[in-house]
């Protein structure tokens, strides 16, 4: 059962991930990105990481996606015209990506743990959010505060960048 679900969601994620880079229309790319991240969130939930799965849907489908669509519509981007493809650069890019994937495949094949399946959890009902929260506010309290400052800096930076006369 979990095997079938795993491959369904993995294929959904990979097919729509490929659609992101194949589509010529940026809006179609952005919507494919949402579906791909939805499949990824389902994979997180299959791995018993409920909190991360929900955060994935909220942040990516909710916030990041709206931002992308908003910018695409603001810039009024149409489907891009067909340009002459530099064939050598295209072949080079594809071969570098394929070489990278082959290398990754070899590394995973040599990893001893890769053949083992996942050990069962202690209890089927885990308080996932509670445990993540305890770790986050216990062991990682200082990094959490620093992240808050980082988000504030990002907000101020965006406001400065969006000013009309950028000096």
């Amino acid at each position: 059962m979990s095997l079938v679900l795993f491959w369904c969601f993995a294929l959904l994620m990979l097919v729509f991930g490929a659609a992101v880079i194949v589509n010529r229309n940026p809006v179609a790319s952005a919507l494919s990105l949402v579906v791909s991240f939805f499949g990824l969130a389902c994979l997180f939930i299959l791995l018993d990481a409920y909190f991360i799965g929900i955060i994935q849907v909220l942040v990516y489908a909710g916030a990041v996606m709206v931002l992308f669509l908003f910018i695409i519509m603001l810039l009024d981007l149409r489907t891009e015209a067909r340009r002459k493809i530099n064939l050598i650069a295209f072949a080079g890019g594809v071969s570098v990506a394929l070489a990278f994937f082959a290398q990754l495949y070899l590394v995973i094949g040599h990893l001893g743990d890769a053949r083992k399946s996942f050990p069962p959890l202690g209890s089927p009902h885990s308080d996932d959010v509670r445990n993540v929260g305890l770790t986050l506010f216990g062991n990682y309290n200082l990094p959490f505060q620093i992240i808050g400052v980082l988000v504030l800096v990002a907000t101020i930076g965006i406001i400065v960048l969006s000013k009309r006369d950028l000096r």
Binding site: V20, F37, D48, R83, G93, D113, F118, L150, V151
Partner: protein, 106 residues
């Protein structure tokens, strides 16, 4: 049964798709989306390892999940800043094609 290798394989495939997008596409917004795909591929393998390295109490290793939480936060901030930079670039140059932006080319 689903093994750890299956998750690592899928994560590697997603990373490769993002990598190919960064190398092949010329639209700067699509390049940005491919960057997001690569970040999320890394998240997937982190969560898979978190579930695999189970703690003595029978719980997943939550340190990895907190790491993923931080990555998602930073990625969201990065998307906002990056899109603001793209809008500023578009205002100045009226293009988002990387081939038309060659001021820094040696």
């Amino acid at each position: 049964m689903v093994t750890l290798g299956d998750y690592l394989f899928v994560s590697g495939a997603l990373f490769t798709i993002g990598f190919a997008g960064v190398l092949l596409r010329r639209n700067i917004i699509i390049i940005f989306m491919s960057l997001e795909l690569m970040l999320n591929a890394a998240n997937l393998s982190l969560v898979a390892f978190s579930r695999f390295r189970i703690q003595p109490a029978g719980l997943p290793n939550y340190h990895a999940q907190v790491f993923v939480f931080f990555i998602i936060t930073v990625a969201a901030a990065e998307v906002a800043v990056g899109l603001a930079i793209i809008v500023a670039l578009f205002r100045a140059r009226r293009t988002i094609h990387v081939e038309d932006i060659t001021s820094l080319k040696f």
